[in-house]
Amino acid sequence: MSTLPLAKEGRLRSLADFYLTTIRTAIQQQFQYRAATYMYLVGMVAEPVIYLVVWSTIADQSGGTVGGLTAGEFAAYYIVWTLVRTMNIVFTPYGWEERIREGELSGQLLRPLHPIHYDLAWFAGGKVPWVLFYLPIAVVLTLVFNPTFDVRPLEIAVFAVAVWGAYLIRTFYQSALGLVTFWTTRVGALFQLYITLELLLSGRLVPLTLMPEWVQTAAWFLPFRWTFYFPIQALVDDLSNEQLLGGLAMQALWTLIGIGLFSLVWRYAIRRYTAVGN
C-alpha cells in the first residue's frame, strides 16, 4: 500500500489553504450563534460605557476636560475601545484547560499541524460575524454619546493593521499562559492576575494619560499597551506618522517575543504531556 501523495502546493500555500478553510468554517459556525453573540456583546459593551459615563461626568463637572480630554473625546476613546475589544478576543487559558481536560488535545496532537494555527485561524474567522453584529451597537453608541472624531486616511490604515497586531499579541501571551495548565489546573488564578495587569496597563481601564507617571513608564516595558491603547490611539489621538508606524513596529516586536515565549513553553509542555498522557 502506497502513501497518499502530498497536495501539489507547497507548505506555505497549504497552510494558507488551511487558514482559509478554517476561517470559512468559523464564520459558518458563529452565524449559528447570533443571539448568544449579541448577548455577549451587550455585556461586553457595558464595561466601557460605564467608564465613559463616569469620566464624562467628571469632565463636565470640572469645566469640560479631565486629564486633557473632553467628554466627546472620552466617548471617542471608549467607542473605538469596543471595536478593538471585539477584534482582540482570543482563545483563553480557560479554553486550554477545557481542551486538555476533555481530551481534545490528544486528537489535535495526532494531526500534522500545530494547534495554534487552528486557534489563530478560528478566532480570526469569528471576527467577521462579530464585527458585523457589533456595527449596529456602535451606531447606537455614537448617536447616544456624541464622540468627537478627526481621522486621516493613514490613521485608518494603521488602525486596521494595529487591531490584528493586538489580536496576535494577546493570542500568543494568553496561549503561553494557557499552557501552564499542563502543570497545574489552577491556571485561573494566573489568568486573573494577567487580566488585572492588562486592565491597568493597557488602556483598557482608562486612557493611559490619566494614569500616574510611573504607571505610564511601566507600560512601555510590557506588551499590554499594544493590545488596547495603541490601536485606539491610532484612530482617536493625533499621532505623527513616525509614531503610527513606529507603533506597528513595536507590535511586531512584541508579537515576535510572544511567539518565542509560546514556542519555548510549548516544547516543555508537550514533553510533560507525553510523559503523563491523558
Binding site: K8, T25, Q29, P112, T274
Partner: protein, 327 residues
C-alpha cells in the same frame, strides 16, 4: 526486522502516581512532600506486525492496551524499550509519520460539533494536505462503505451515537492512513452498528491493504476481524498468535451441554458442572477425556440431546486472567 510495519521491543511505560491517604494531616503533609507510587502500565512487551495484518489487542481494563496504542501513535513517550511504526519513532511526532497513521478512539469526537461533517472533512483535507481528487474519491468511498449517505450534511450534534461514530471514522480515514489504530471502536454502540463497523474495517483492509491494530472488550470484534490476537494483562503479553490457538494453549478442556430427561440427577462424577438450567446441564471436561465421558453419559443417563463444544473465548480469557491474578 525492517519490513515490519510496527516493531515493538521490550517496551515499557511507567507512571508515577501520587499516593495520598485520607485525612487533614496527610493532606497537609502531602502539600510539602508528595509520595508517589510507580505503576507499570506496560512492562516489557515485544511484537512485530507485518504489513496488512489485522491484530487484536485483548485485555481487561488497565491491562495496558490503550497505553500501548498511545505510545505507538506518539501521544505518550516510552519509558524504555523500542517502538517503531513505519520506520518512524512515534514520539517524535514527525509530520510524515502523522500523515500515515490514524488513531480512532471510541467515544471521542474530533469533528466540529455544530456543523455538518462535510465541513469538518474539508478541514481535514487541508490539515493533511490531501490532493483534491484523492480527497473526493476517498470521501465518497468511505461514505458509501459506511452507508452514511446524507448524514454528512446534518450538524454532527444532531446525529445519534452510532451515526456520529460512523462519520468520525470517515473523517479519520480521509488521508488514507497506512496504519490504523482502533481503540474500542464499537464501545457503546448497538449490535447492528457494531456489526456494520466490523464489516467496514474488514472491507477497508481488503481494499487498501492497511495494517490494523484493534483493541476491544468485545470478543465479537476480535473473532470477526482478527487473525492474530495479542493478549495483554498487567502490562505483559500472555499470548501472541492465532485466535484458534488461544483455546488450545490455555484451555485444555471442552464443554458438554446435555439436555436431561430428569434434570435432578447429580452429574458431578462426569465432570465439573458449570451451569444448570432446569433440564439443561453444562459440564466442563478435560479435552482428553471428552470422548470417554460422552460415551459414559449416553450409556448411563437418560440424555435427550448432547452437544460438545470448544469453550467460548470469553471463558478462556477469563480463566487466563484469573490464573494470572493468582500467580
Amino acid at each position: 526486522m525492517n519490513d515490519a510495519v510496527v516493531h515493538v521491543a521490550e517496551l515499557r511505560k511507567t507512571f508515577d502516581v501520587p499516593e495520598r491517604e485520607a485525612g487533614l494531616k496527610a493532606a497537609t503533609k502531602g502539600l510539602v512532600r508528595r509520595k508517589t507510587k510507580e505503576v507499570r502500565a506496560v512492562d516489557g512487551i515485544s511484537f512485530d506486525i507485518a504489513p496488512g495484518e489485522i491484530v487484536g489487542f485483548l485485555g481487561p481494563n488497565g491491562a495496558g492496551k490503550t497505553t500501548t496504542l498511545k505510545m505507538l501513535s506518539g501521544l505518550l513517550y516510552v519509558s524504555s524499550g523500542d517502538a517503531q511504526v513505519l520506520g518512524h519513532v512515534p514520539s517524535k511526532r514527525e509530520r510524515d509519520f502523522l500523515r500515515r497513521i490514524a488513531l480512532v478512539m471510541g467515544n471521542r469526537n474530533q469533528l466540529q460539533w455544530d456543523l455538518p461533517a462535510l465541513d469538518s472533512f474539508e478541514l481535514n483535507r487541508s490539515i493533511y494536505r490531501i490532493p483534491r481528487e484523492h480527497f473526493l474519491r476517498n470521501r465518497d468511498e468511505l461514505v458509501e462503505l459506511l452507508e452514511v449517505g446524507d448524514l454528512v450534511k446534518k450538524p454532527v450534534r444532531q446525529l445519534s451515537l452510532g451515526e456520529r461514530m460512523k462519520v468520525e471514522i470517515v473523517g479519520s480515514l480521509l488521508h488514507q492512513p497506512q496504519v490504523l489504530f482502533l481503540d474500542e471502536p464499537t464501545i457503546g454502540l448497538d449490535v447492528t452498528m457494531q456489526k456494520r463497523i466490523r464489516e467496514f474495517v474488514a472491507e477497508y483492509r481488503q481494499r487498501h491493504g492497511a495494517t490494523v491494530m484493534l483493541t476491544s472488550h468485545y470478543m465479537a470484534d476480535v473473532e470477526a476481524l482478527c487473525e492474530r490476537v495479542i493478549v495483554i494483562h498487567h502490562g505483559k503479553i500472555l499470548f501472541d498468535g492465532k485466535l484458534g490457538a488461544l483455546s488450545n494453549t490455555f484451555a485444555a478442556w471442552k464443554t458438554i451441554t446435555a439436555a436431561m430427561e430428569n434434570g435432578a440427577s447429580d452429574l458431578s462424577s462426569y465432570g465439573e458442572v458449570i451451569h444448570r438450567d432446569g433440564d439443561l446441564v453444562t459440564l466442563r471436561v478435560p479435552k482428553a477425556d471428552t470422548a470417554r465421558v460422552t460415551a459414559r453419559l449416553l450409556a448411563e443417563q437418560a440424555v435427550l440431546d448432547l452437544n460438545v463444544e470448544d469453550p467460548p473465548i470469553e471463558d478462556v480469557i477469563e480463566l487466563v486472567f484469573a490464573q494470572e491474578n493468582r500467580s
